[in-house]
């Protein structure tokens, strides 16, 4: 990050790059909308069809959802990989790390608890 002297100023999240004209801005949102509609339609189709092997459906839904979040981030919130966006991307990366730890950790721990716990009626008997 030290040799970014040629890079432009930082941009706020949600701000487009410098020099974006009216038409270019509109096209960005239109592209985002089209991609989001496509991914949403794919999600709803996969969830309601019988054509797909059932155990693969949750995986496909997660992949499509992550893809759509990426589309929203890039085309609606204008979070890009450019050097003027480094701060925003770093914050996002930290947020994603926490989210993964929280959700993944909860599911992992609770699944193991369920597995290792004595059935509830036996637990009740022990207390008597």
């Amino acid at each position: 990050m030290s040799d970014t002297s040629h890079a432009g100023p930082d941009t706020a999240p949600g701000d487009e790059q410098e020099g974006g004209s009216f038409v270019a801005g509109f096209q960005t949102y239109l592209t985002g909308l089209a991609l989001a509609v496509l991914l949403t339609a794919a999600s709803f189709f996969i969830a309601s069809t019988n054509l797909v092997w059932a155990p693969s459906i949750p995986v496909a839904l997660v992949v499509l959802a992550i893809a759509q979040m990426g589309v929203h981030l890039v085309f609606f919130l204008h979070i890009t990989t450019g050097p003027e966006n480094t701060n925003n991307v770093m914050a996002l990366a930290f947020g994603v790390l926490i989210v993964i730890l929280l959700i993944g950790g909860s599911l992992w721990i609770m699944a193991h608890l369920n597995q290792n716990m004595m059935p509830m009626n036996q637990l009740m008997n022990m207390q008597r």
């Binding site: 100023p9 941009t11 919130l77 701060n87 926490i98």
Partner: protein
Amino acid sequence: MTTLPYASSHDDGPYRSGRESNSYRNGAAAGHGSAGPASKRVVVGFGFWIFLLSDIVMFSAFFAAYAVLVGATAGGPAGHDLFDLKNAGLETACLLASSFTCGLASIAADARNKLWFYAAMAATCVLGLVFLGLEATEFAGLVAKGAGPTRSAFLSAFFTLVGCHGLHVSIGILWLLTMMAQVFAKGFRADIKRRFLCFALFWHALDIIWVALFSVVYLMGVAR
């Protein structure tokens, strides 16, 4: 962008930190060290971005609770008995379209076009209200069916998660109306445009959370 200076005395805020206080007004600061502090718009936007990420972390806790409790139906109805994909699809369409119109309002604000700004914001507001109406109808239907939040841990988690998102949308609509009023009363002043930047970020972030929500709650609920 730089036609209206926003350097009235009450507006300087805590971000104005000293040297070269005029250079950033032209967007000349690079924020990588030597060029002085970043512009106030960048600082405000970044701060709100941090808030949004913390909000997303809060939602991820609700998501984790839902995912853990999704099987705890206590003999009551599960997701595939309750959820209506047509309703969820309509809600999704409304929120996605409102995100798009909110983007159009951003373009209109950049172009300082009041007519387009009001039109796009009004469309965003109507779509948000339709979304809230659909969700309220769904909730009322569930409660009437005896599947209210007290029925099982699964339904408690469901109502908490989806209701929390609905609450955010309600607050967003209040904020939206406030922004329209502020632009009406004060025009596209730099501080008003910063507030609008934050609103637009908030509204787009709500749509991102809804993507996770309809995928995890509705689609996986029906598919399993």
